[in-house]
C-alpha cells in the first residue's frame, strides 16, 4: 500500500542525501518526494510516498527517526489530509484547430494556460494526484511533449 510520510528535518546540507541514501541502502521504494522550506527558516519538510507492507512502513518510519537530522516523522496515510501536486505539461499545438478543444478541457479541470507558442501550449494544474493522472491521460491524444510534476505535498487537517 502507498503511504504518505511527512518528515520534518533540519534545514542543513546533506539531509536529503541522508534520506535518499537510507531508502536506497535498505531497498525501500520512494514513489515521489517533495522538499521545501517551512515557516521556520531552519526547518524543512520532506513529503514522500513509499509503498510496502506494514512491516516495511514501520521500518521506514523507525529508520527515518534514527537519523539525527530528522526531527519528526508522521505517517499521513490514515489521517484526514489535504494533498496536492503541481503539474506543468507541454502539449503539441501545431494544429490550431485543436486549440479551442484543449482550452475547453482546461476549463473543466480548472487548469491554467501559462505559456503559448506557435508550436505548443504549457498548462499548469494543481490537485490531488488522481486528478493530475486523469488530466495527463486526457491530454495524451493531443501529443504530450513534456511533463514535470512536483511530487505530492500534504498537510493534515
Amino acid at each position: 500500500m502507498h503511504h504518505i510520510i511527512s518528515v520534518t528535518v533540519e534545514n542543513k546540507f546533506g539531509v536529503l542525501s541522508r534520506i535518499a541514501g537510507l531508502f536506497a541502502g535498505r531497498g525501500y521504494n520512494i514513489g515521489s518526494l517533495a522538499v521545501g522550506p517551512t515557516e521556520k527558516e531552519d526547518i524543512s519538510t520532506i513529503v514522500l510516498t513509499v509503498s510496502g507492507d506494514d512491516k516495511i512502513i514501520e521500518q521506514v518510519i523507525k529508520q527515518l527517526n534514527r537519523l539525527i537530522d530528522v526531527i519528526k516523522v508522521v505517517d499521513l496515510t490514515e489521517k484526514e489530509i489535504v494533498k496536492r501536486e503541481l503539474l506543468l505539461i507541454k502539449i503539441s499545438a501545431e494544429h490550431t484547430t485543436k486549440r479551442s478543444e484543449l482550452f475547453q478541457i482546461c476549463e473543466v479541470f480548472k487548469s491554467k494556460i501559462v505559456g503559448i507558442t506557435n508550436k505548443n501550449v504549457i498548462i499548469e494544474l494543481s490537485g490531488a494526484p488522481a486528478k493530475i493522472d486523469a488530466f495527463i491521460n486526457i491530454m495524451r491524444p493531443y501529443g504530450i511533449l513534456e511533463v514535470s510534476r512536483t511530487g505530492l505535498i500534504a498537510l493534515a487537517r
Binding site: 533540519e10 541502502g25 523507525k62 527517526n65 534514527r66 537519523l67 537530522d69
Partner: protein, 562 residues
C-alpha cells in the same frame, strides 16, 4: 570566550571529553592538527595503516567502555578508515573518527587527496559532519562525542577541512555539557505498562528462555540479567557480542546460540514458549531460517533502538529503553519461578550433545585444546581479541568469559584484520590486563603491519595464531556444501610467521605438539612483552555444531566425533 585555531579547539574538546589517547595517521591536510597535537597532553599512537588505527580505537572502546578516537587524512587516509568505522557501526561501538579534508574552496573540484568521506560513510556512521565554519567546530565535536556514546552507541565522523583547522574561531570554555539536539532524544526509561505486560507473559510462561545480546554489555546490566534469570529460573543463551555477560559455570547458562552455538542453546530457543530478548537484534546468524525460528514462542524484546524491534522477527511485547534501566524496573514485578520440567529437559540436551573435541597425545594440535589451555593459564581473566573465522568461533565456544568487556570480536561485520589492532587498543586502554589476540593465519595477514606499532610502544599483547594454512571457515563451507572444491582457500604458501615476528623484533615460538602447548603459553605469559605463538593446528578441523546458512536452527550439523 577565547579565540583559538580550529586545531587548538579540537585538542581542547578532546581533553574535555576525557580522551587520553588517539590513533592517528598524519597527512597533508592534517599537519595543522598534528602541530597542535605536538604540544598536547594526549597520547598519540601511530598505526601503520589507518584501518589499524580505526580498529585499535574500536578495541580500546570495547575494552574500556569509553569513546575511541581515530584520525586519518583526507582521501585515502579517510577511505582506509571505512572498514573500521563500519565494523564499529555494526557492533554499536562508540567511536569518533576525525578526518582531514581539503580546504573548503577546493571541495567538489576533485582536488588532490579529496574524497567525499561524509557521503561515503553516511550509511555506516550514526551521524557525520563536514565542518564548514571554525565557529561551529566546538559544538560539532561535542555533539559527535555525545551522539557516539549515548543511546545505541556508534561511530560519528567529523570531517575537518584544512582551512577550518587553521582558521581562528570562538572557543567557549563555559559551553554546557548538556547537548540538546532536537532530532536526537534516546529513550532510556522503558514504558511501565509494557514492562508489566511483559511480566505477565513471564509469569505465565512454562518454557522461557533469555536471549541476551551486546546491549547487556553496553548498558552494564550483567548484574540485572543475572538477577532476572535467577528469579524466574530461565536459561540464558548469549550472542557472540554478549559473551561474558552471564557466569559460564551457572546451571542456567546455555552458552552461545546461533550458527555455531551449542546444541542445547539452539534446542532450548526452538522449544521455548517465551523468548526474552535483551539488547539483541535477531541477527540471521542467530535465528537461521526465520520462518522456522522458535515457532511456539512469544517474544518480549528490550532494546534502546526502536528500529531493532520487529525488524527481522515480529515481537509481541516491545520495550524501548536502556537494558539496565528496564531490567531494574522489571525486577520489581517479576515473581519467582522454578521451571523444573523445562530445566530438566535442557539438562538432557546438555548431556546429549556437549561441546567436545579429542586431543590425542601424539596427534595433530586441536585448536579447542589450545584455547582451553589459554583459558586455564590466564585463569579466565585475560582480555581476548579475535580475528574472524574458525578461530573466532572456537574461542567463543571454549574460552569461558566472565566479563563481557573481555571478549573483543567483530560480530556484525565479521572483519578479518580486526583482531590484532583491536588487541593493541584494548591493551593500551587496560594496561594492567593481559591481552591475547587469538588469530587465524588468513586474518592476521590483513593487518600484520601493526606488529610495528606493537613493537614501537612495547604493547605486550600475545598473539596466539591458530595456523591451519587455510582460510578455514570458507574451506569448511567448501568441504560441507561444495564437495571439497577448495577454491582460493589454501594458504600453503604462508610466510614463516615466527620469522616475521622476529623481523619486527618480537619474540615468537612455533608449536606443533601437544606437549609444547602449555610451556609455550607459559613462556609468553612470563614477561609483559609482545609475543607470537604460531600453533600449527589440524588443517581440516571444523567448527561444530553448525547451522548451515539459511537453514532452520533445528537442522544443526553436529560434527564427526559426535
Amino acid at each position: 570566550m577565547t579565540k583559538l585555531t580550529g586545531a587548538q579547539i579540537l585538542i581542547k574538546v578532546l581533553k574535555q571529553e576525557g580522551v587520553e589517547l588517539v590513533f592517528g595517521y598524519p597527512g597533508g591536510v592534517l599537519i595543522p592538527i598534528y602541530d597542535a597535537l605536538y604540544d598536547a597532553d594526549i597520547r598519540h599512537i601511530l598505526p601503520r595503516h589507518e584501518q589499524g588505527g580505526a580498529h585499535a580505537a574500536d578495541g580500546y572502546a570495547r575494552a574500556t567502555g569509553k569513546v575511541g578516537v581515530c584520525i586519518g587524512t583526507s582521501g585515502p587516509g579517510a577511505t582506509n578508515l571505512v572498514t573500521g568505522i563500519a565494523t564499529a557501526y555494526m557492533d554499536s561501538v562508540p567511536l569518533v573518527a576525525i578526518t582531514g579534508q581539503v580546504q573548503t574552496s577546493l571541495i567538489g573540484g576533485d582536488a588532490f587527496q579529496e574524497v567525499d568521506i561524509t557521503g561515503i560513510t553516511r550509511p555506516i556512521t550514526k551521524h557525520n559532519y563536514l565542518v564548514k565554519d571554525v565557529n561551529d567546530l566546538q559544538r560539532i565535536l561535542k555533539e559527535a562525542f555525545h551522539i557516539a556514546r549515548t543511546g545505541r552507541p556508534g561511530p560519528v565522523l567529523v570531517d575537518i577541512p584544512k582551512d577550518v583547522s587553521v582558521a581562528v574561531g570562538i572557543y567557549n570554555s563555559k559551553l554546557s555539557d548538556n547537548i540538546e539536539i532536537r532530532g536526537y532524544k534516546p529513550n532510556y526509561k522503558g514504558h511501565i505498562g509494557q514492562i508489566k505486560k511483559a511480566v505477565e507473559l513471564i509469569n505465565k510462561a512454562k518454557q522461557p528462555i533469555i536471549y541476551a545480546g551486546g546491549g547487556v554489555k553496553i548498558s552494564g546490566a550483567t548484574k540485572e540479567l543475572y538477577e532476572l534469570a535467577k528469579t524466574i529460573n530461565a536459561p540464558v543463551a548469549l550472542t557472540l557480542m554478549a559473551l561474558g555477560s552471564f557466569p559460564p559455570d551457572d546451571k542456567l547458562y546455555l552458552g552461545m546460540l546461533g550458527m555455531h552455538g551449542t546444541y542445547y542453546a539452539n534446542m532450548s530457543i526452538n522449544h521455548s514458549d517465551l523468548i526474552i530478548a535483551i539488547g539483541a537484534r535477531f541477527d540471521d546468524r542467530v535465528t537461521g531460517k526465520l520462518e522456522e525460528f522458535a515457532p511456539n514462542a512469544q517474544i518480549i524484546h528490550i532494546d534502546i533502538d526502536p528500529a531493532a524491534i520487529s525488524k527481522n522477527v515480529k515481537v509481541d511485547i516491545p520495550i524501548v529503553g536502556d537494558v539496565k534501566t528496564v531490567l531494574t524496573d522489571m525486577l520489581n514485578y517479576v515473581k519467582e519461578k522454578e521451571h523444573k520440567e523445562w530445566l530438566k529437559q535442557i539438562d538432557v540436551w546438555k548431556k546429549q550433545q556437549p561441546l567436545t573435541y579429542n586431543q590425542t597425545e601424539s596427534g595433530p594440535l586441536k585448536p579447542q585444546y589450545i584455547i582451553e589451555e589459554i583459558y586455564n593459564l590466564t585463569k579466565g581473566e585475560a582480555i581476548i581479541a579475535t580475528e574472524v573465522g574458525q578461530h573466532q568461533m572456537w574461542t567463543a565456544q571454549y574460552y569461558k568469559f566472565t566479563n563481557p568487556r573481555h571478549f573483543i570480536s567483530s560480530g556484525g561485520l565479521g572483519t578479518m584484520g580486526f583482531g590484532l589492532p583491536a588487541s593493541m587498543g584494548a591493551q593500551l586502554g587496560c594496561p594492567d590486563k593481559r591481552v591475547i589476540c587469538i588469530a587465524g593465519d588468513g586474518s592476521l595477514q590483513m593487518n600484520i603491519q601493526e606488529l610495528a606499532t606493537i613493537r614501537e610502544h612495547n604493547i605486550p599483547v600475545i598473539i596466539a595464531l591458530l595456523n591451519n594454512s587455510y582460510l578455514g571457515m570458507v574451506r569448511q563451507w567448501q568441504e560441507l556444501f561444495f564437495k571439497k572444491r577448495y577454491m582460493a582457500t589454501d594458504l600453503v604458501k604462508n610466510p614463516n610467521f615466527t620469522k616475521i615476528a622476529n623481523a619486527y623484533d618480537i619474540k615468537a615460538l612455533k608449536i606443533t605438539k601437544k606437549s609444547e602447548v602449555v610451556p609455550a603459553i607459559k613462556e609468553a605469559l612470563k614477561n609483559k612483552e609482545p609475543y607470537l605463538l604460531d600453533f600449527i593446528i589440524n588443517r581440516e578441523e571444523n567448527v561444530f555444531p553448525m547451522v548451515p546458512a539459511g537453514a532452520a536452527v533445528s537442522n544443526m550439523i553436529l560434527g564427526g566425533e559426535n
